[in-house]
């Protein structure tokens, strides 16, 4: 799945794994850096999801009260 398609949950789970792996400190420098870059992309992705969110409501019957 391409990175910008993944959901918030998956992104956060991935981030959690990346942090754990980095904190374990067993990786080579190159591996650490590439993992770090991936993590930062995910952070940006999560932030974007939260920043640009607006309430999206639909009704199964089609009508929504005008005050929503």
């Amino acid at each position: 799945m391409s990175e910008d398609k993944i959901g918030l949950e998956e992104a956060l789970d991935d981030l959690e794994r990346i942090v754990a792996e980095l904190e374990e400190g067993k990786l080579s420098l190159e591996e650490s850096l590439s993992l770090f870059e991936k993590g930062m992309r995910l952070v940006g992705l999560c932030n974007a999801k939260l920043e640009f969110a607006e309430q999206k409501i639909e009704s199964l019957t089609g009508d929504l009260p005008s005050d929503l």
Partner: protein, 397 residues
């Protein structure tokens, strides 16, 4: 005998009949209040009912002054009084003289318990059936009235949490509400990660539809986890038992359904910080290791390695020399001892008794044939030597 009554006469006869029947006087009755009216006059009018039947009741002001609670619809009562007939309307009613709240099981309560027991016996409320709520739902279904405050409470809490909200409208009170709720829950099948079934506060009567078996079954059969939130904290319905999680209010339900945005942002920030810190400390560790290695190869360290080796070499050299000397000394003393021994068995003593040793250039002469005529021989005497020439050879016979 045919007698034609006037209405008044007939009602009087009914009245006479009922009001003089001791079985209909001084009696206790149990039921639920509805249509309660507290009249200006101070009289209280209400209907006492159970599942299948109802009876008008009156509590006159004089009888009601000692009442120690507020009467209202939905209460279960025990009433004491007499059956009478209200002649102007020909209406049979109970003239109430005493009222107690009935804390026993009202018929509604019995029905509630029956449904609950039935569904529980099917295992529908079992803990192992409960689905866990997703941490970050992306599609949130809401079953409620589009016009209710409950929906607005839920939407306010969800706020800008990034999810698709799908409203599945339902009637949440009155005739057909239970079927409407069940249908609305089923309509969300396959469309959501979590479903909130909710309704704001109301009378027990209003909330009753959430105690229906079909609503409970629809909730249990829902393919995503369901949070129920019906009425207030104290209202517990069958739907709550069927749901995966019961929330006290619609607001609480929404708080359970989505993570708090501030906490979520803080979590992401923290993750970022941890990641940067982990990367730096990884780099730091590698740098330290490098420095350590560097120190190992420093010129001073190399110089001291050389000095050390040289010292070691000197020491070895010295030891070797000492060992060699020892060996020589040993050899020398062995030689002296051997010399003394040889002297004891040597020829000097024999020569001094008059013997001589004859030698040619080929070695010792022991037999005549060891020499030839004309050979120059050396004769070693006890003192000095003679150089002689062989004139003739006489071999022993």
């Amino acid at each position: 005998m045919t007698r034609i009554f006037t209405v008044t006469e007939l009602n009087e006869r009914i009245m006479d009949r009922l009001e003089n029947d001791p079985r209909l006087q001084d009696l206790w009755a149990r039921g639920e209040i509805s249509n309660f009216v507290y009249h200006r006059s101070g009289h209280r009018y209400f209907t006492l009912k159970d599942r299948d039947s109802q009876l008008p009741c009156v509590l006159f002001r004089t009888q009601g002054v000692r009442l120690d609670f507020e009467m209202k619809d939905g209460q279960n009562l025990l009433v004491f009084g007499d059956i009478s007939v209200y002649k102007p309307q020909g209406r049979v009613q109970l003239l109430v003289r005493g009222v107690k709240l009935d804390f026993g099981l009202g018929f509604r309560h019995l029905e509630f318990e029956a449904v609950k027991k039935k569904l529980a016996s099917e295992g529908l409320f079992d803990a192992e059936r409960k689905k866990a709520l997703p941490k970050y739902p992306e599609r949130i279904g809401i079953v409620t009235s589009p016009d209710g405050a409950a929906l607005r409470d839920v939407l306010r809490i969800i706020g800008y949490y990034p999810a698709q909200i799908i409203l599945s409208p339902a009637l949440v009170q009155g005739e057909g509400a239970d079927a409407s709720i069940a249908l609305a829950v089923r309509a969300l099948r396959g469309r959501t990660d979590i479903v909130i079934v909710c309704r704001g506060g109301g009378s027990a009567e209003d909330l009753w539809c959430f105690n229906s078996e079909i609503v409970a079954r629809a909730i249990v059969e829902c393919d995503s986890p369901v949070i129920s939130a019906v009425g207030h904290e104290t209202d517990v319905t069958i739907a709550d038992f069927a749901a995966d999680v019961r929330a006290a209010t619609p607001t609480a339900a929404a708080e359970l359904a989505v993570p708090n945005m501030d906490e979520l942002r803080a979590l992401i920030d923290l993750t970022q910080t941890r990641m940067v810190r982990a990367l730096w400390s990884g780099l730091e560790r590698k740098r330290e290791h490098l420095e350590y290695l560097e120190r190992c190869f420093s010129s001073r360290r190399m110089y001291s390695l050389v000095t050390e080796s040289r010292q070691r070499l000197d020491y070895l050299e010295e030891s070797l020399a000492r060992a060699e000397m020892e060996r020589l000394k040993l050899l020398r003393s062995r030689l002296q001892m051997a010399g003394a021994g040889l002297a004891a068995v040597g020829p000097a003593a024999t020569l001094s008794r008059g013997y001589a040793i004859a030698k040619s250039t080929r070695g010792l002469i022991l037999r005549a044939e060891d020499a030839k005529a004309g050979d120059v021989l050396e004769l070693i005497l006890a003192e000095g030597r003679l150089i002689c020439q062989v004139l003739d050879i006489k071999k022993q016979k």
